[in-house]
Symmetry: C2
Subunit: 698 residues, 2 copies
């Protein structure tokens, strides 16, 4: 039983601010509760004897055993009401009243005080600025919305109250039901993560769905979701995906829009499925709630209509699924039972003159095939086929075989009754075969989430003290940036770097170049020169003879570029045979919601022109890192495309994990780029580094 049990399972609900006044929120909430709630409803209003025939109390203090209070009083009275709730032992409060954080600074201040009161009394507070909550098993509709939800197995949270109203109305029409519904409002106390935890423990919730515009604490969200998403699928619409959408979301909720790449990476880590629209959200939820998971990726298609069968096959080709290849025995059994002109191979065409018996027989045969892990049953209306009976047969056959079936009964009014029958049995029924296949694809996606073995990120033996020392260099400076002078940071964390040193005279340059071995690379070391190459501050392949001249030239060029530049010296670096390997870029950016976000891509045009990059939230485990590398389109180049030798991908995986540990150990590192990290056939080598450090966090 979750911590929010009393919120969704109250025996007694008080409406504070209850009234009969027309079009008022207090009246709407009271009416909704009186209409359908199984428990007691207690109107609270000092100015009323009774509300809709129920005796009203003057104050919540007079009531006993109230499990949930719904607050609709004006904003400036809310804090006092909340205190009273705390004093009288009401643990769960839904604040419907608006005029808090969303309404300017004064409201924001009240909202902070509201959160303080809630903390003091350990109150579970939904809102403020919430439409309310529902829980269908006990008939609880503590919202001011116009409709009750139908009972069902989906629990739904939304950061948009309007969307709750719209969705409930639509869902009722579509025969979609809910267990619990919560309009999150301003989330002063309870947020999406609390409800994930609650519903993860709730046997009545089969699927958690939600509409979110932002997540405050990405880390907590990931942790909570990982705990429960393997048992209870979570599908979310996170809006503000695009630049325009993010701007709109941020002006709507006033929250800082995080990067969508971080959300994408965070959801991936959390095992959360993402939907891009309301329809796809409910298509996904419907399949997840009602269907078993597929056994393998092979799908059988059985149809009485060749053309739609081809469309279905296209949709399978677009998905992560594949058309099952039948066993010989299956084809043989089909041959024995189907007419000569039928197509016995997948997609199976039982032909337009198929009656119910033939259709059902075909379905039985293909579902018995070992290679079939899921099926699409697809039918056009014909004179000889009864949809009602077909629906019944599908329900029965599915019970027997326990494989997921997506049903596509094409047609209009004649589909209504059979669709109801299918829905009752947990089967979704679509018109468009593409959506049926998308539904199965969601199941397959969730099956993959369940199969992932969560591996702990490796903890490497590192020299943390040395790393801290190097980061501290920034304290002595004006800026917050470090460059090649911080290469030791990588060394401290075990990332291979070429032999190198920073010198401050031409003679020393020559001496070190001799020791390192010619030719060498030479780079200016200056916090004031972010783009060393552009100003001629880098020379590669310098022979010993030319080292002194090169030193002078590099320093002179830097001076010419920026006469006041702080020059920390010139780096003399062992040459790495870049031609023998592949240049990669590994970076980190700290996301306001999700924390350290790692980036990986191949160097040069791949990142800059083709934007072929991939992101993960640190810390990353070895399998996660390998997946990250394989994610980019240009990954084949690492594995030896076009006759080249494969690079040391294991070495690359280790290097990225070590970097992940570094940025997790030091929150002071705000961003960091290793560019390039050269991946060679026999190892990797970090050639250059740039980072920004917040000295206050050291």
């Amino acid at each position: 039983m979750g911590e929010l049990h009393g919120l969704f399972n109250p025996g007694r609900v008080a409406v504070i601010g209850s009234t009969e006044r027309d079009e008022s929120v207090g009246a709407a909430v009271t009416r909704n509760l009186l209409d359908s709630f199984d428990g007691d409803v207690v109107p609270v209003n000092p100015n009323a004897e009774s509300v809709f025939g129920v005796d009203a109390l003057d104050s919540i203090e007079e009531a006993s055993d109230v499990d949930l209070a719904v607050v609709t009083v004006p904003a400036d009275a809310v804090l006092e009401v909340l205190e009273t709730c705390g004093e009288t032992g009401v643990r769960n409060v839904v604040v419907i009243t608006a005029g808090f954080g969303e309404a300017g600074e004064k409201g924001a201040k009240m909202e902070r005080r509201l959160a303080e009161v809630a903390e003091r009394y350990e109150l579970n507070v939904v809102g403020p600025n919430s439409l309310g909550v529902m829980s269908t098993p006990i008939g609880l509709n503590a919202t001011f919305g116009p409709d009750d939800a139908r009972p069902g197995k989906l629990s739904f949270m939304s950061q948009s109250g309007a969307l709750v109203t719209a969705v409930i109305d639509w869902a009722n029409d579509q025969q979609i039901g809910f267990k619990d519904v919560v309009s999150l409002g301003n989330e002063a106390v309870l947020d999406e993560t609390d409800f994930l935890r609650e519903w993860g423990d709730d046997p009545g919730t089969d699927v958690v769905i939600g509409y979110l515009e932002g997540i405050d604490d990405g880390g907590a969200f990931i942790e909570a979701a990982r705990e429960m998403s393997r048992e209870t699928p979570v599908v979310l619409v996170k809006s503000g995906r695009t630049e325009a959408g993010a701007k709109a979301a941020s002006s709507h909720t006033g929250s800082l829009a995080g990067s969508d790449r971080a959300y994408e990476a965070g959801f991936e880590k959390a095992g959360v499925l993402r939907a891009d629209s309301v329809e796809t959200l409910f298509d996904a939820a419907g399949m997840l709630a009602g269907q078993p998971l597929p056994e393998g990726e092979g799908v059988a298609v059985i149809t009485n209509a060749g053309g739609p069968g081809v469309m279905t096959t296209d949709a399978i080709g677009d998905s992560s699924l594949s058309l099952a290849s039948f066993e010989g025995a299956t084809v043989q059994r089909l041959r024995e039972t189907m007419p000569e002109a039928a197509n016995l191979h997948n997609p199976v065409d039982v032909l337009g003159d198929a009656d119910n018996e033939r259709f059902q027989e075909g379905l039985e045969i293909v579902l018995a095939d070992e290679n079939v892990g899921a099926a699409v049953v697809l039918s056009a209306p014909t004179a000889v086929l009864e949809y009602d009976r077909l629906a019944e047969a599908i329900v029965e056959t599915q019970r027997e075989h326990e494989l997921p079936i997506a049903v596509c009964l094409m047609g209009g009014e004649r589909v209504q009754k059979p669709r109801e029958r299918l829905n009752e049995a947990g089967l979704s029924c679509y018109f468009d075969p593409t959506r049926a296949v998308d539904g199965l694809d969601t199941l397959a996606g969730y099956a993959r989430i369940r199969e992932i073995e969560w591996t702990e990120p490796t903890t490497f033996d590192v020299d943390r003290a040395r790393a801290r020392e190097i980061l501290r260099q920034v304290e002595a400076r004006e800026g917050t940036r470090l460059g090649v002078e911080a290469m030791g940071l990588l060394e401290a964390y075990g990332l291979p770097i070429p032999e190198s040193d920073i010198v401050d005279s031409a003679d020393d340059a020559h001496r070190r170049a001799e020791e390192i071995g010619e030719p060498v690379a030479m780079k200016i070391v200056s916090p004031d020169v972010p783009h060393k190459t552009d100003i001629g501050g880098v020379k590669v392949g310098v022979e010993l003879d030319s080292v002194r001249d090169a030193y002078e030239e590099i320093v002179t060029r830097t001076r010419n570029y920026h006469s006041e530049a702080t020059i920390l010296g010139v780096q003399i670096q062992e040459m790495v045979d870049v031609e023998a390997g592949v240049e990669t870029i590994v970076g980190m950016n700290r996301d306001p919601q999700f924390g350290p976000l790692l980036m990986f891509g191949l160097g040069g045009i791949f990142v800059e022109v083709l934007e072929d990059t991939t992101f993960r939230v640190a810390p990353v485990s070895a399998p996660e890192t390998r997946e990250m590398i394989d994610d980019i389109d240009s990954a084949p180049l690492l594995y030896g495309a076009r006759g080249r030798e494969s690079v040391d991908v294991d070495g690359l995986v280790t290097a990225i994990q070590r970097l992940s540990q570094l940025v997790c150990d030091f929150p002071a590192i705000l961003e960091l780029d290793i560019n390039p990290l050269v991946a060679l056939p026999d190892g990797v080598s970090a050639i250059d580094i740039r980072l920004t450090v917040d000295p206050e966090k050291l």
Copy 2:
């Protein structure tokens, strides 16, 4: 008036094979006609006095003035019936009978004879194996399907009869209407191209939609579609998009599956919009039939629900549209009329307590903005807003402003009536904002099609005789392949090639290298060595001193690889400074349906690993070629990404057009690759060629 006028506008329809027999096709067709056809129905059946109370004739010969005959007699009687139709002056025949091309060799033979008869008598024949045809203005339902279509402005053709049945039933439920419907059947005579032509001339058809699995004559299709698609939008589902789907389509129809890239390129050239599913097909058709085209890409969003407003903005971000940026006066007017908390910038949030007046006022204001070319009206249900009145207001406002509006009334049952009102006025009404935006995006896509100025492909002055001479080399050989020995082909068509010659002795090699200027590139010339580089048959950067040795080495290596190889010599070629430019690949493949399909991409990994390629059907005009080049993701590399000099893109455009002319002039060229075609800052240079020639077509 189109050639098929009589097919869709008959005054008198005969059903040959008419009967009352239960569940027979002849009975179904007769009943459908008698139920609703405005004209005369003439049953023909020598064994019946009358059918469903209408006097039957023994033969079509006895009837006069029959405009359309629907044939349902057994397959082996069809040919004779057709001859009789021809003799008696019936011009339009729908052959519903199956058992022709789809049923094996005997049927295919009958089908060929059917086509001959049709040609002899100049008959318009639909089918065989067709569900039939419909035309709603005259109540014509000459199909054996269960439902009449509703009247409307869409004309629909389908290569799947089952899909027609399914779609009509569903469309009736969705209040979608049709002008003409045709089930194309086996297309022995009339095919998709004929109906494009017909409907292009038909004032009753606002949009042509279709489901196709294959197009026989791609060239004719493109020509017909280009003629009419700027006046009448065409949206098609072409299935068999994926490998699995293509296999299924080909087993369904027995037709050879063409490459989907060719269909994609062909549709682009034809100005045809493509849909991937039935739902998107009808979403697109609904918008195109009912709405004006947008004026510019700026979209205004007006809503009473912030969350769904953000989702809409995301959908706009995903589309080719953009969120309109309002004029100052618009924001000012909104400020004067909206409450303080409203969002006055796009997306406009009129707030949850908005009544009809406020909503409508907001809509009027944003539609008057010069930067707004289209709008999304998006509403969640609230207690103060009446959807019926909102629908009415939208209809009126749209009439006044003549801009496209996509309407999203979120909710279930309460939306039914307002949706009907909107549909009547040509406005689509969606639940999901994503689909509303997709609808507007389709309009924008069609607006772009209308804006394209069809430019004639340039005809260059070329040496066709020399090209033919070079192609004829293949006649003297066993194989059909030509290599560098055919470089003259490019020269004859004006494509720049480096100076080169083919020699057959080390001394000649040296002499020619001296004339060309060292260093040179040297390549084996042999039809038996397709991959010259792999066997060491290519040397680049050869200095004059080494030319003789290089010659011997190349010949020896070729002999070692293949002792019987025909060696035509060694090519001595001027070196091109590849480093100063960008390697591209230009290729051509002859598609069975669409003919010469040009390919363009950047050399090396871009084509081979990243598959960053683009395709067009030849001949290509200059603007088409430029668009083709700009299509690839790596195009910025041509324009000087990362500080490099831009290559001569104009030169590249010309070179591709010249190649286009070459492959159009010589259908004997089955495939051809120029790899690389080096694009340099000051021109292009074709370095190597491979082609396959069909000597019979020379």
